[in-house]
């Protein structure tokens, strides 16, 4: 099992039933040929993140996204500050 699958499984357990967890993992690991999931995977989308997010509430998804954006913003600002030796 890949690390991403373990991470996804742990989160999915919070709010998806076992059938949904298993079906979701199957779909993202082996997307049906010709499906939008297959196209997205081919495009470079990390499908494990989508399944993780679906296990969250909309509020939790927004909190997570804004926290990630804040972290990126902080990193960018840190990169612009002069280095002190």
């Amino acid at each position: 099992m890949l690390n991403s699958e373990v991470r996804c499984e742990n989160i999915c357990k919070k709010s998806m039933n076992t059938r949904q967890q298993n079906r979701g993992l199957e779909l993202i690991t082996h997307p049906p040929p010709g499906s939008k999931l297959a196209a997205a995977k081919e495009f470079g989308i990390d499908l494990t993140l989508l399944l993780e997010n679906l296990a969250l509430t909309p509020t939790e998804r927004l909190e997570k996204a804004f926290a990630a954006a804040a972290f990126h913003h902080e990193l960018r600002q840190a990169g612009q500050r002069p280095r002190v030796k």
Binding site: A40, N53, T59, A65
Partner: protein, 165 residues
């Protein structure tokens, strides 16, 4: 960085008619995008614009990316003379849209939205189908690049029978 909860509470408390669109709407549906701003489509009646101004004025909206010497007053007259505004506020960046590409004005956008519980309140959020239509219509590379993820989300939700937005 937008304080989404404060912005949402301010808009809801003032009774503003709006729909959450753009990156935050994508995220609310499950996108893995990291978004920094808030895009809303607002209803353009005189009364709603008055409510919008009263909701946001305490957070000192100013034009984002415009020279500081360009005069800008955030009031009803200004909003009624314009349509779309890209603003910086004390809460973060906030974009106001009178229309959405591929959809139209508020009435159509509202009809194409889902009511989703966010921070304990009902919030109209542009549906996945409508987000995809809007991205197709906008047609910029960054919009088109978002479509595969949105289509994958829609398919995943359908296949999982996901009732939660």
């Amino acid at each position: 960085m937008i304080s989404f909860q404060k912005a949402l509470v301010a808009l809801r408390n003032a009774g503003v008619e709006f729909v959450l669109i753009g990156g935050a709407a994508m995220v609310a549906h499950g996108s893995a995008l990291a978004t920094q701003d808030l895009d809303i489509c607002y209803e353009r009646s005189h009364e709603n614009i008055r409510r919008l101004v009263s909701a946001l004025a305490p957070f000192h909206p100013r034009l984002r990316g415009a020279p500081a010497d360009i005069p800008f007053r955030f009031d009803s007259d200004t909003l009624e003379r314009g349509l779309n505004f890209t603003l910086a506020t004390d809460l973060g960046d906030l974009d106001l849209f009178g229309e959405v590409a591929g959809l139209g004005a508020y009435k159509v956008v509202r009809a194409a939205s889902d009511i989703v519980q966010v921070y304990g309140t009902d919030c109209p959020i542009l549906s996945l189908d409508a987000l995809i239509r809007a991205k197709q219509a906008a047609g910029r590379p960054r919009d088109l690049a978002a479509i595969p993820e949105l289509e994958a989300l829609r398919e995943l939700k359908r296949k999982l029978g996901n009732k939660q937005s």
